[in-house]
Subunit: 422 residues, 2 copies
Amino acid sequence: MSVDTSGAAQGAALRSDRTVLGNGLTVVGEHNPFAATVAAGYFVRTGARDETAEIAGVSHFLEHMMFKGTDRRTAADINRSFDELGAQYNAFTSEERTVYYGAVLPERLSELLDLLSDMMRPALRQEDFDVEKNVILEEIAMYEDRPHFRVFEVAGRRFWNGHPLGHSVLGGQDSIRALTREQMLTYFGRRYAPSNLILAVAGAYDWEAVTEEVASLTGAWEPFDAGRALARPDPAQGTGETEDSKLERVHTAVFAPGYAADDERRYAAAILGSVLGDDSGSRLFWSLVDKGLADSASLGHEASDGAGAFVGYVSSAPERATEVLDIYRRVLVQAQDDTLDAEEWRRAQRKLATGLTLRAETPLGRLVSLGVGYQSLGRYQSVQDVVDAVMRSSLEGGRALLADRPFDRLYLHTLGPANVPS
Amino acid sequence: MSVDTSGAAQGAALRSDRTVLGNGLTVVGEHNPFAATVAAGYFVRTGARDETAEIAGVSHFLEHMMFKGTDRRTAADINRSFDELGAQYNAFTSEERTVYYGAVLPERLSELLDLLSDMMRPALRQEDFDVEKNVILEEIAMYEDRPHFRVFEVAGRRFWNGHPLGHSVLGGQDSIRALTREQMLTYFGRRYAPSNLILAVAGAYDWEAVTEEVASLTGAWEPFDAGRALARPDPAQGTGETEDSKLERVHTAVFAPGYAADDERRYAAAILGSVLGDDSGSRLFWSLVDKGLADSASLGHEASDGAGAFVGYVSSAPERATEVLDIYRRVLVQAQDDTLDAEEWRRAQRKLATGLTLRAETPLGRLVSLGVGYQSLGRYQSVQDVVDAVMRSSLEGGRALLADRPFDRLYLHTLGPANVPS
C-alpha cells in the first residue's frame, strides 16, 4: 500500500534548493534533470483576504496591471516577450495569494526570469489603469451569467461571517469603479515586499545561475515588512437563499468548518472529503448523481492560511431541490453516525495520491504545489513526502474528524428560481 | 527558429509501435522509457455525426453506459477497479469520436488494459439504462444555465446546415426520453466494430506484453464493417439570433469555412486562428478584450474528418453588442485586405509549437493527440513531426488562405436579451 512517485527510470529523489537573498526574497527550486522544460513563478502572499472593503478587488486588478508594463517594457513588450520565449504563462489571484508563472525550454529560463522579475516592479501608469478598469468591470459582468460562480461568492461571504476569507476576489462593480491608482500604489507598496514573495523554479535548471541572476534582477528591491492578520474564524451555520427567477436550476454551495494549511489533520480532511464527495465515485455521487437526481454533487476540503473549510456544491431541477438537499445533508450527517469503512478510506487515499503524482509529472504542474507548499509551511515538501503523508493518514484520524461533527454545522446557500426550499 | 521537443536529457526520439490484430483492432504505442506513468485509451470513431435525428445523443448516452457494467463486472466493480488501480480516468464524446482512457503506474498497465477492454463489451442492462437516462437528462438540463454552451449548440446546427457535424452531442430532452435500449444495442452493434476502434498506449510499457494481452482480451470480438459517410458540407452564412430575456450578456458564436483534419492547410489555418484570435494576445484580443469592450473574444480552427471550420466566440454587455460585433467582424474581414505580418506569424507558430510540446509532456497529455492523430491520418506522427509541420508552415500559406476570403462567409449567432443587433 504505497505509491512510488520516483519513476522507474528516474531513480533517485529530486534535489531541492533554497536561497534567501539579502532583500528577503526566498528563491526555491526542485531540480529534475529529466525534465524537457522548466517552470518558474512568483508566489505573492497577498489576495482578497488582505483587502479592506474600500479596496475590494484590488489584488486581482493589480494582477492584471502587472502585465501592463514596467519602466523597461510596455504592455505589448511583455506580451510579445512571452510569445517569443514560446512560453506557456498565466497568473491567478485567490483569497490567499497572487501567482505569476510561465514554462519554457531550459535554454530560455534566463529570459523568463528577467521578464517575470521585471513585471514584479510595474509602472502602474494612469492611462493603463483607466483602460484596465473597464476590462475588470467586463470580467465582473461576465460572471453574472455564471450561477455556479455567483452562489459561491455569496455563500462564502455568509459562511466566513466577517472573516477575511469570505472576501470576494473580483470585488464589486462599486469598489472597482471607485478605486484609484493611488490606492493601488499604496496596496502594492504595502504587500509586494520581497519577503512576502517566493520565486519557485521546477524542472531543468542550474541553481547557481538562477540565484546569481535573480539576485542581480531583484537587487534594487527595497525590503520592508508585510504581515498578515490571522483572525480566528467564527463561521456561520444554517441556510441562506438568493432568489433569481431567471435561473433554470437550483445551485447550492455548501460549507462546513475545516482545517488550516499547516494543520496535520488536513490530510485526513482531504481523504474524508474524497470519500464523501469525490465527483467520480463517492457517497454523494452514488446517492445523487448516479441516481439522476442531481447533475452535480460534490464535496472537498480547502485548507487555507490559519483556517479551512469543507466546501461542496450541488445542482438540480427546482422541483427536486428539497429532496436533493435533504439527501445531500443526510449523507454528510449520517457519515458522522455510521462508521467509516476501511476499504473506502484506502481507495480515497490512493485516488488522492495518484492525482498528486500525475499533476506533478510536468514542471508546470509541479510548480504550483511547490510554491504553495513553501508558502504554507515555510519548508520544502517533495511529492513523495505529501503522498506518504496521505497514505499514512489513518482511518482512526478520519473517524476523529467525524467525531467533531463538522456536518452538524453546515451552511447551505441556494441560488435559484422562486420558492426554493432550503 | 526550431523547437526541439526531444528534451535535453531524453536525447533520442521516442519509439512508435503499431500492431493490427486479426479482428481488425489497431493497437498503437509511443514508448517513453523516461515516463513515470503509462496511459492507455480506446478511441472509437463514432460520435454525434454518426447519429440520425431519431437517436440523437445515443453516442454520449452509450459512453455513460460503458461504465455501467459488463458480463464480468457491475458498475460498482468498474468504479472500484479504477480507484484501486489508482487510475486517473475519464471518457468523452464529441461529434467525431468517443474516447475512454486512464493513466496508471507502469506496473498496473496490465490491469488497466483488462478493465478498459472489458468495458468495450458492455452488458447494457435495461435497469441501468433506465436509471442512466435520468442522469443524461440531468446533464442536458444543467446546460440550460450555461449560455456559452447553448449558443454553440444552435450556431453549429445552423452553420453546418444539415451536415452531420452540426449534430448535438448531448441530443435533446425528447430524443433521449424516446430512446430505447434496443436502439442503443443496434447503434453499438453497428459502430463498435474492432476495425473502428484504436487502442493507444503512451509512456512506459513492454510492447510484446501489451499486444499479447490485448490480443487475448479482445480475441472474441467479432469483426464487421463500420464506415462513415463523409458528406460534403454546404455551410450557411449570415446571422441568426436567439432571444432570451433572462440573460445579462450577449453571447455570440462565430463560424467560417475551414479545412479537414487530413488537409495540409490545417497547420496554416491553426496559425492564422492564433494570429487573429488567441485569447492571450491576438488581433481580436487587442481590439476588444484589452480595450475593455468585451469580456471574451477569440477564434481558432477546428479540423474534423472531411471538413473543418474556424470557430470563434465573443461576449459583451447588451448595450455594446452592435459595436463589439462590428469590430469582431471588421478585424477578420480586414485581415483579408491587409497583409499578414511575418513577425506575428512567427510568434503564433512558436506559441502553437510550445503548447504542443507542453501538452505532450505527460503520457496522459500525449495520449489524446497520439490516438486522434492516428485516427485522423492512419499513421503515426511524433510531437516533433507536428511541431516541424507548424514551424515549416509559411507566411505565404497563410496569405493564400486569406485570399480565399473565408471571413466573407461568416455565420454569427447571438444569444442574449431582447433587441440584440446582429
